[in-house]
Structure formats: structure tokens, C-alpha cells
């Protein structure tokens, strides 16, 4: 509401108050607005406006404003120049009426522009005076939104059904037959490892310590120990290893047989390997 009331109240004030009009250039929305305001002072139908008189008023206004204020936007000056030109052409007899636009036509075009701007302003005001949504009229304060209910439509084909059934039944019937393969440390593997490890040391060391590198995987600890123990017994029997144990379940210590002087181990290792 206020916007157009401001608009309404501005114009008569300017129109009736000549001195303030003279200085208040900033109040105008450009030269066309200024022209329109000046035209209103003629208090005639814009269709019958005297463009010549209007040009005089505009030029007088600009003259005043320049004396007092000096700071005029360029487009006011452009309009002033154009109006001065139009005025001169309107006053002087047309020399080459056939060439270009006549002064009469230029004046009519200006009058038409003014009428159009005035009409637009008038209708903008009428538009804003219409009942506006959220200002004058209201829509439903609590809309009831439409709920989306989704009904699933399940899809499955006979093929899905039968292939799923057949596959599942077959998996179950086969799983009874199959036995998972177990990982076992063979005696040969154990012996090879023991020979390599114990061959390097003359001191007593517990069996577990020799094998520590092989017992990282908990699932193979039992098979590593059992196979190594069996391989150790065999090597003792061959006279290549010595073992001693403090008591039942205490650590089993192993070392290379001491009284084998020189390098008998190599020879006997070769023998037993061959045997």
C-alpha cells in the first residue's frame, strides 16, 4: 500500500511546489519522468500536450538546476540537448521534409512515450491495488498435504522360483558329501626344518623355540608340534640329536649330538637321508 501512496503523494507536491522542483532532481526517475511531471503541470490531456512548451520548461528546469546544483546525470543533459534540437526544428520551417523523420513526428513520438509511461504507472498502481495474496486475501493456513501411499507390487517369475528352489536343494544335498581338505605338516617337512634349525646350534634349546616361526597360524600349531616331535624322535634314534626333559609336560630340550667328532653329522645325515 505504502509504495503507491508514496507515489501518489510525491507528484502533486512536486507539481505545486516550483522552488523545490527546481532543486530536487534526484527525486526524478530520469529525464522522461521529469518531462512527465512537467507535462502534468500543463494540466491538459497528454495527447494534446504542447511539446514546444514542454521543451521550454525542461530546458528552463535544467538551466536552474545547473545554476544551483551542477551535478546532473548525463541522460538529463542528453535529453536537454535533444529537446533543444527538437525545439529548433519545430520553430524553423522544415527544409527537407522528405528526408528522415519530421520534427512533427519526433514530437508525436515523445508525446506517445510520455503517454505510455503514464499509462504504465497508472496500471501499476491499479495492479497493486488489487487484492494481493498474503496481504488482502489469504489461502489455506493449514494445507492438508496429499499423502503418498505406496503399494508394493511384488514380482517374481516361475523361473525365479524353480531355479532358486533347485539351486538351494542341490547345494544342501552336495554339502553332505564334501569334506574340507585339512592342512597338515608332513614328517618330511618337519625333519627338513629341524635339521636346518638344530644344525646351527650346540646349546640346549626348547623344541618350541626352534619352531616359533612355524607356529604363527593357530590352526597349524598342533600339526607342526606333532610332526616335529616325531621327526625329532627319529633323528635321536639315528644318533644325530640329543634330548632331555626335566619331567612330564615340561619343555623338551634338543641339541646336536655332542660326541660326534669332526663332521659325522653330515655323513650320517646323508646316510639317513638316503635310507
Amino acid at each position: 500500500m505504502n509504495a503507491e501512496q508514496d507515489f501518489e503523494s510525491d507528484l502533486p507536491e512536486r507539481a505545486s511546489d516550483e522552488p523545490s522542483l527546481m532543486v530536487d532532481v534526484e527525486g526524478f526517475e530520469g529525464p522522461l519522468d521529469l518531462l512527465l511531471t512537467l507535462a502534468r503541470q500543463q494540466k491538459v490531456d497528454l495527447a494534446k500536450i504542447s511539446i514546444l512548451a514542454l521543451a521550454d520548461q525542461y530546458l528552463a528546469f535544467i538551466e536552474e538546476a545547473r545554476k544551483m546544483r551542477l551535478e546532473l546525470a548525463a541522460d538529463y543533459l542528453v535529453m536537454a540537448a535533444w529537446l533543444a534540437y527538437l525545439k529548433s526544428r519545430l520553430l524553423l520551417p522544415e527544409q527537407h521534409p522528405s528526408e528522415g523523420v519530421s520534427a512533427e513526428e519526433m514530437a508525436n513520438a515523445l508525446a506517445r512515450r510520455l503517454r505510455r509511461l503514464e499509462a504504465i504507472r497508472q496500471f501499476a498502481e491499479q495492479l497493486l491495488n488489487r487484492p494481493q495474496l498474503g496481504r488482502d486475501v489469504f489461502q489455506r493456513g493449514q494445507p492438508e498435504p496429499i499423502a503418498e501411499v505406496k503399494h508394493p507390487q511384488w514380482s517374481a517369475t516361475m523361473y525365479d522360483l524353480l531355479s532358486a528352489y533347485a539351486a538351494r536343494r542341490q547345494i544342501r544335498s552336495r554339502s553332505v558329501v564334501r569334506v574340507a581338505k585339512r592342512t597338515v605338516w608332513s614328517l618330511a617337512e618337519a625333519r627338513e626344518a629341524l635339521e636346518r634349525l638344530i644344525g646351527q646350534t650346540m646349546d640346549w634349546s626348547p623344541l618350541d623355540q626352534y619352531l616359533v616361526a612355524y607356529m604363527t597360524d593357530p590352526s597349524t600349531v598342533t600339526t607342526v608340534l606333532a610332526s616335529s616331535f616325531a621327526a625329532a624322535l627319529e633323528m635321536i634314534r639315528e644318533g644325530r640329536l640329543e634330548a632331555h626333559q626335566q619331567g612330564a609336560f615340561s619343555p623338551l630340550y634338543l641339541r646336536r649330538k655332542q660326541n660326534a667328532a669332526g663332521d659325522p653329522s653330515q655323513g650320517s645325515a646323508a646316510d639317513s637321508g638316503n635310507g
Binding site: 489469504f138 492438508e144 499423502a147 508394493p152 507390487q153 511384488w154 524353480l162 528352489y165 542341490q170
Partner: protein, 232 residues
């Protein structure tokens, strides 16, 4: 203008023309309000001393047969669409969904081995079947609760429904392919253990000797598909 006269009879009170205006005001206020309004708030917009309660009651009577009703919620007044028109405010759409692998397997096992309990389905599948899987199948309407097995725990027995036959285009459950046909279709390998068998399915609704009927409590427990569905 004839229409307006007709309207006056409906809304207004001839003896008290102001009343029509007050009703209009209440109507507009209630319509535009973002929340239910109490009588005090409504009265504050009417001429001082207006007794707003009888006006609201009159408005409520006038709106009662219409598509919009004036209702009281929490001691406040608000306009609401008539409850019998609630269906208008829901948009129903059909979404196509695929059954999970587990659901299809379970469905097949129910079809071939019915009447079957959940434990038996698990036995055949070799994995535990979630409650959700059976619920989804009940929702499809393709399986149904048949009864209870006469066994410890009285487990529910499942079977297929007529909707199952109709969805899979079967004339009768006996038309489900047998082992030879499954082998012929390449779905079962030729070399299977001798004891591998596919049952001859039957969906005879009559309970078997080892079944007993469902109790009334089964419906309450929500084991059955929603009652509304059966009406469709």
C-alpha cells in the same frame, strides 16, 4: 443475486443480519489460520461482547454435511476436510518390487513342502530365515498361515494361497514341475544322490493330521495379513 438470497437462508440468520457477517468473519479467520484458534482469539476479532460460542456451534452445524467440517481439537477450533473424504488426500501408487533371493527360496520351499513350519524351511535352506522374509511373503498374499503343527511349541504352518497360483499361472499346485521336469529343464543336475527327492506338492486347505487350526490369538498377533487386504 437470487443465489445470494438463497445463501442467506443457509448461512445467515434473518432476525440478526449481523450474525451472517460474524459468521463470515469466523469462517475467514478459521480458514486462514495456520493453527487451530481458541474462542478468545476468535472473539478478539469480533465486536466486543459477541458471544462467539453459539456462532461457532452454528458454523459447525452448517459445515457438518459439507466436504469441510469445523472441528474442535484440544479446545480450539479448526476447519478440516470431512473424515469420510480422507481417501481423497491420499495418493495411492503401485511400486513394483522384486523379491529377495531369500524370499524366493522360502516361497519355493513353502510351495513344494507345504504345510511347512519356519524351522523346517530353515532346515531345508540350511540358513536361518528372518521373520521379515516370511512377513514379506505374507504381504505378497502368496503364502498364508494354515494352522499350527501338533508339536512342541505349536509352530505355525505355512502354505500357498490362491493368489500364488494365479500369479504364477498355475492351474493347480500339482502343476509345479517334479524332479524329472526340473532335470529336464537343466535346473537340477542329472547326477544327484539317489535319495534326492522333490516332494509332490499339495495345497489342500484341509488341515493334516499333524496340524491344528489357528487360534483367535494369531489374528491379533498380526501374523495374518491385514484384514483389509482380504476384502480387496
Amino acid at each position: 443475486m437470487g443465489k445470494v438470497a438463497e445463501m442467506r437462508v443457509i448461512v445467515g440468520d434473518k432476525k440478526d443480519p449481523d450474525r451472517a457477517e460474524e459468521l463470515r468473519i469466523l469462517e475467514a479467520l478459521l480458514f486462514a489460520a495456520a493453527a487451530p484458534l481458541d474462542e478468545k482469539a476468535l472473539a478478539s476479532r469480533l465486536p466486543a461482547g459477541t458471544d462467539v460460542h453459539p456462532l461457532l456451534q452454528q458454523l459447525q452445524r452448517e459445515y457438518a454435511p459439507r466436504g469441510v467440517n469445523l472441528v474442535r481439537v484440544g479446545g480450539k477450533w479448526t476447519l478440516r476436510t470431512a473424515t469420510d473424504l480422507a481417501w481423497l488426500l491420499t495418493h495411492e501408487s503401485v511400486v513394483t518390487r522384486k523379491l529377495s533371493r531369500a524370499a524366493i527360496e522360502t516361497l519355493a520351499i513353502v510351495a513344494y513342502h507345504q504345510p511347512v513350519t519356519r524351522a523346517e524351511v530353515e532346515e531345508i535352506r540350511g540358513v536361518s530365515t528372518s521373520k521379515g522374509t516370511l512377513d514379506v511373503l505374507l504381504e505378497t498374499g502368496w503364502i498364508r498361515l494354515r494352522g499350527r503343527r501338533k508339536a512342541p511349541g505349536r509352530p505355525v504352518t505355512y502354505g500357498t494361497s490362491e493368489a500364488f497360483l494365479s500369479h504364477f499361472g498355475l492351474d493347480a499346485l500339482g502343476d509345479l514341475p517334479g524332479l524329472d521336469e526340473l532335470k529336464g529343464a537343466g535346473l537340477v543336475e542329472a547326477a544327484m544322490p539317489a535319495d534326492f527327492a522333490v516332494p509332490v506338492p499339495s495345497d489342500d486347505p484341509a488341515l493334516r493330521d499333524d496340524e491344528e487350526p489357528l487360534g483367535p490369538e494369531d489374528v491379533d498377533l498380526g501374523l495374518a495379513p491385514p484384514l483389509g487386504r482380504t476384502e480387496e
